[in-house]
Subunit: 208 residues, 2 copies
């Protein structure tokens, strides 16, 4: 084994001091931001406030997060990305027809996302309280969902071929995402104490 081979092997185990500090700082910024948002409100908290709380310059904040919205909704977008990844890697469920397969895959991914939300209910509940009150945050979130929609669409078309024509597929995805969104809204409105997956399931079934 050569030295390079060893260091490459260790790469996953030892991310290096630099990497570790970066992750730590990112986490710290996120936590400090959330704390401040809850204490004084989102709009009453400036980037400078957050930067001071973790003792970095405002410039450095923007090297970790592109915007104030992102520092709040990063985890939310991560969940959506995870759903996308799931759709990319998971095998298509066995189904009668190709279109059935697309439908089943989409459903599975929505439930998977619901599952992820449920695992971090506390954090998402806090974020939701803010998104409800601040238009720019809500708008940011909706845009993330739109991006996800087109990505889901591309991926599904890639994997199921011509089972659906593009525009029908778009509608299918849009309604599924809408169902997820509405279910999520209700779940969070009720304190995130119910069974989100069951809720999503029932909403998806109500689509027909």
């Amino acid at each position: 084994m050569s030295d390079t081979a060893i260091s490459e092997q260790d790469q996953t185990v030892r991310p290096g001091l630099r990497e570790r500090k970066k992750r730590l700082l990112q986490e710290a910024i996120e936590q400090a931001a959330l704390k401040l948002f809850l204490q004084r409100g989102y709009e009453q908290t400036s980037i400078q406030d957050i930067a001071e709380a973790v003792m970095i310059s405002p410039r450095t904040f923007f090297r970790y997060f592109p915007s104030k919205e992102e520092v709040l909704l990063g985890p939310t977008r991560a969940v959506v990305r995870a759903g996308l990844e799931r759709l990319r890697t998971l095998p298509l469920p066995e189904a009668q027809s190709e279109s059935e397969a697309a439908y089943a895959a989409l459903r599975a991914v929505m439930l998977y996302i619901a599952h992820l939300y449920q695992q971090q209910r506390r954090g998402f509940l806090l974020r939701y309280q803010i998104a409800r009150q601040v238009p720019s945050v809500a708008a940011f979130y909706l845009y993330a969902l739109l991006e996800a929609e087109t990505a889901f669409c591309d991926l599904l078309q890639e994997r199921t071929g011509e089972a659906y024509e593009r525009s029908r597929l778009r509608l299918l995805v849009a309604t599924h995402v809408a169902a997820l969104r509405v279910a999520l809204e209700r779940w969070l409105d009720e304190g995130a104490e119910g069974d989100l997956q069951a809720l999503v399931k029932s909403y998806l079934e109500a689509l027909h």
Copy 2:
């Protein structure tokens, strides 16, 4: 007839110089903004540029429009508002059950909005080109749709009573709006030359 009665009567006929100038200026700002957006791009156009084009101070711009997004998407939001107004004023269609009535009303409003879009296809086509490329504009638009969703919901619940439980109604509205949005997207992508109403109709039917 008293003097006040006369002036009140004339109010609709003679809006007064002040009012007329205001409307004119608002129109001028909107047109100048759209022109500049198309010429140099949305993000390359500053409020100051727009203000200079119509020879007002930037401060005055903000007395007419709360944001850059609004000056572009004002008409779009107006169409949605018109749909809301329609739902508020139009009698509920005759239907077997109350839930059927809610469904029919929602469908009628979506088609009405489609009709309004079609009447100004040129303007909306231009706006859409921009919204596609600029995240902040797209996000703003989606937020407007979200607001509309809750408003539709409130109104429908008011008018159809307990035909649907709140959350089911929310889902119904969300899917209808999603269908409208996707249909609109496709129509605009194809140059706004097709029959949007027919498209919306087919998408709404595909919901089942």
